[in-house]
């Protein structure tokens, strides 16, 4: 048992997340109130999708700057289709997720076929997606969200468990299966670990890159759609502040940025750590602006620890 804990990827972030929760609730018992747990789970449900959207790309050793822009575009398309064309939420949601999938597919195609760095391609598509978003909305929010959607985004299933927790949990399970059980998932990690040897063993790098980016786009769109339901508003600014969040959680969960090594469960705990700290700052009446500073510091600390661990593992491997 002890061996299992010390060897699994997610044990350390889990211990940190749990002790953090205990620590905060010792200082402020209100942390464990039903309402607070509900708010926490709502934030986690959406942020986990944002983080996984980036994690899939980190797995192949790349980065995706357009996560927020694509999620935001899907969000306003979801809200706009319901308000302007009166489409039923299911249809509008499916189309919005389709846009996310297509946008990610486009990213993957451009990177996979040309071999140009993911940074530059997604910086360019970031502006294209954001520009489309602003052109559609004229920077004005869509307010007419059907009651069913509002209910979906804010009601709880039982106790403090919000309904939006269900799709998020489902996606987490699917991704765990994807990376651990499906050949495609292993392709992603193989390409991230060493693209050249992956290619030599018969994996198409270009195809894998396209698949990863399509999944990333789809997950970003999921986050955007859920956020519209939760905010009860199709805001054009959705996604603007996702960049840091999307990297922070996978990195805190121990993802190695060079690619080839990610853990879905560890990323979930990464999201939980970030959400708890954000919540604690609010509970202790600390300036909300400070959240950014803390996130920045946490990223630096986490990457340093990961780097150090990797070096130690390398050294252990040499001996």
């Amino acid at each position: 048992m002890a061996r299992l804990i010390s060897q699994s990827d997610w044990a350390t972030p889990m211990i940190v997340a749990v002790s953090l929760g205990v620590l905060i609730s010792l200082f402020n018992p209100a942390f464990l109130s039903t309402f607070n747990i509900q708010v926490l789970l709502e934030a986690v449900s959406i942020n986990v999708l944002i983080a996984l959207s980036q994690m899939v790309i980190i797995a192949i050793g790349q980065m995706n700057l357009s996560v927020g822009a694509l999620g935001g575009l899907a969000a306003v398309i979801f809200a706009g289709l319901m308000e302007v064309f009166g489409l039923p939420p299911i249809v509008a949601g499916a189309l919005a997720l389709g846009v996310g999938l297509a946008g990610g597919f486009l990213n993957g195609l451009l990177i996979g076929l040309t071999g140009i760095s993911a940074f530059v391609i997604t910086l360019a598509t970031l502006s294209i997606f954001k520009g489309l978003n602003l052109a559609i909305t004229q920077a004005q929010p869509f307010y007419e969200i059907p009651d069913a959607v509002k209910h979906f985004g804010n009601a709880t299933l039982f106790g403090p468990f919000p309904i939006i927790f269900v799709p998020a949990a489902l996606i987490v399970v699917l991704l765990v299966v994807f990376f651990n059980r499906l050949p495609v998932g292993r392709w992603l990690l193989a390409v991230g670990g060493n693209a050249h040897s992956a290619e030599l063993s018969g994996i198409s790098t270009a195809k894998t890159v396209v698949i990863a980016h399509a999944i990333s786009g789809f997950l970003a769109a999921c986050a955007g759609v859920l956020l519209v339901a939760r905010l009860q508003l199709g805001q054009p600014t959705i996604g603007d502040d996702w960049l840091i969040m999307s990297f922070a959680a996978p990195i805190i969960g121990g993802a190695i940025l060079a690619g080839g090594h990610v853990s879905t469960v560890a990323t979930v705990f990464g999201v939980l750590i970030v959400a708890q700290i954000t919540q604690a700052l609010v509970l202790f009446h600390i300036d909300p602006f400070f959240v950014q500073v803390v996130l920045g510091l946490m990223i630096l600390a986490a990457v340093s620890v990961n780097q150090w661990r990797e070096l130690r593992m390398q050294r252990a491997g040499q001996e």
Partner: protein, 336 residues
């Protein structure tokens, strides 16, 4: 990077003039003239004295933002924090002017020093931790910006002296006087990268760090220096923006300064900089940023709407890198 199929790295056979016409820089110049003529034919207001002034003022700032990113690209890195550093420096300047009452030349120097110091912090973290500059500057972007917002409580400093603001509005031969500092910096950078040992060592550190280290270049120091230069230039860009707006505003580069990111990469990348480091063109980055400014200004005059502009600029970057790829493939095939 341009429509003209040439590559500065490979010798082009033919007379001198032909060689000049086939350079990347000439291609950019040609595009600027073509688009300028196009916009002028659609709307004569394009070359009005009012528009020339505002366009040159925007160009002065855009070029400087591009230079700031180029300094880091030279060593093979990148910086997400240019916008955050710029805004932080501008806020320091605003605070010194309004709250401390320092004479403005001192405040300017202090602001540029702040930018350089913040850049140097990025460089030192990068060198010490051996992390990629992307992740370092992603973290420091939110750190710097968060601390600045925390300290200023997101308030705007409007107590900017009239003499400083009037510089932002001054015209020389129909163009904005703010182009002056930009041109001075451009010349200084040309000298740095082409004629000084330090500049050449910086490029060498970017091109082949291992080889550079073996031949005695202190690569770590060069990376810190490149980031410091980048920070200083970001500060100058932000100060030009302060002179234009007449105030130091925390949101002047958007959320965490991210609005500068696209323009910061467009100039150098259009100008032919290689993102893996070692090759940049100061003149190219200058012309690249001017081209982007002409495009933005012209498209706005044609009333395509503010919001389509961002999508167009993104598409421009995409087109530019794809064309560059096609050009290199073409040259490779011809070489075989």
């Amino acid at each position: 990077m341009s429509l003209v199929t040439s590559d500065a790295r490979k010798p082009v056979r033919g007379p001198e003039l032909m060689r000049l016409l086939l350079t990347n820089e000439f291609g950019l110049l040609l595009l600027i003239v073509v688009f300028g003529a196009l916009f002028y034919s659609v709307s004569s207001g394009f070359l009005s004295s009012f528009n020339l002034n505002s366009m040159s003022r925007a160009a002065a700032i855009n070029v400087m933002i591009g230079f700031s990113m180029m300094a880091v690209i030279a060593t093979g890195g990148l910086s997400l924090a240019v916008g955050a550093i710029g805004v932080c420096s501008a806020m320091v300047c605003g605070w010194l002017l309004q709250e401390i009452g320092l004479p403005w030349p001192y405040a300017l120097v202090a602001a540029i020093a702040t930018g350089a110091a913040l850049g140097a912090i990025n460089g030192m973290i990068e060198v010490k931790t051996r992390l990629h500059s992307f992740i370092v500057t992603l973290a420091t972007m939110s750190l710097f910006f968060g601390i600045m917002i925390f300290l200023t409580q997101a308030q705007t400093y409007r107590g900017i002296p009239a003499s400083f603001v009037s510089f932002g509005r001054m015209k020389v031969m129909g163009l904005s006087a703010t182009l002056g500092p930009t041109l001075v910096v451009a010349v200084a950078l040309i000298v740095l990268y082409n004629f000084t040992r330090v500049g050449k060592e910086m490029l060498a550190a970017g091109a082949k760090p291992q080889a550079a280290m073996l031949s005695g270049v202190r690569v770590g120091r060069m990376i810190v220096l490149a980031h410091a230069i980048s920070g200083g230039l970001a500060a100058i860009a932000a100060l030009l923006l302060v002179a234009r707006n007449g105030a130091a505003i925390p949101s002047m580069a958007g959320q965490q300064g991210q609005d500068w990111l696209l323009i910061a990469f467009l100039g150098p990348v259009l100008g032919g900089a290689v993102l893996t480091g070692g090759k940049i063109s100061v003149v190219g980055a200058f012309l690249g940023a001017v081209l982007v400014t002409v495009l933005s200004n012209g498209l706005l005059l044609m009333q395509i709407g503010d919001f389509w502009l961002q999508a167009t600029l993104g598409a421009t970057l995409l087109l530019a890198v794809l064309l560059d790829l096609a050009r290199r493939k073409f040259l490779e095939r011809r070489a075989q």
